[in-house]
Subunit: 76 residues, 2 copies
Amino acid sequence: MSLRGVGADPRCRCIETESRFMGKLIKKVELFPPNPHCKDTEIIATLKHGGDKICLDSNAPWVKKVIDKILANKKP
Amino acid sequence: MSLRGVGADPRCRCIETESRFMGKLIKKVELFPPNPHCKDTEIIATLKHGGDKICLDSNAPWVKKVIDKILANKKP
C-alpha cells in the first residue's frame, strides 16, 4: 500500500513510490500536478487484474518512457 | 460533454477531444493506454473548479508539453 486512503485528505496522496518496472501491468496512469496540498507531482498507476493502485517515481527513467509510449498510442 | 457515461461500457471513453489549450485549468490527467476496448490511447483531464472531465487530443502539441511539465514537477 503506497497510497493514503481515498478522501479529502489535504496532503500528498503518495507515501512511497514503486521504482521497479511495472509497465506491462499498467491499466491507467493518473498525473496530479503540484498543488496547494502537495508540492510534488504525483503519478498513480492502476494495475490490470485487481486494480491495485501504486505510486510511481517521476524520476525513474522507465516511468517517463512508459508515459511517452502511451502518448505515442502504444501499449506500455 | 466529450465522454460517454461512466460505467462498464466496453468501448472508447472519448467521443470527441478538446484541442484548445487548457493547461492552466488542469487538476489531474488520466492516461488510458490502448486496450481491447479501445485501440487508441485516451487522455482525460479533470478540470479545477467543478471537476469537469474532458478528453484531450494526444496529437495536440500542447498536450504533450503539459504532460512533460507535470512530469518535471511543474504546474501545467
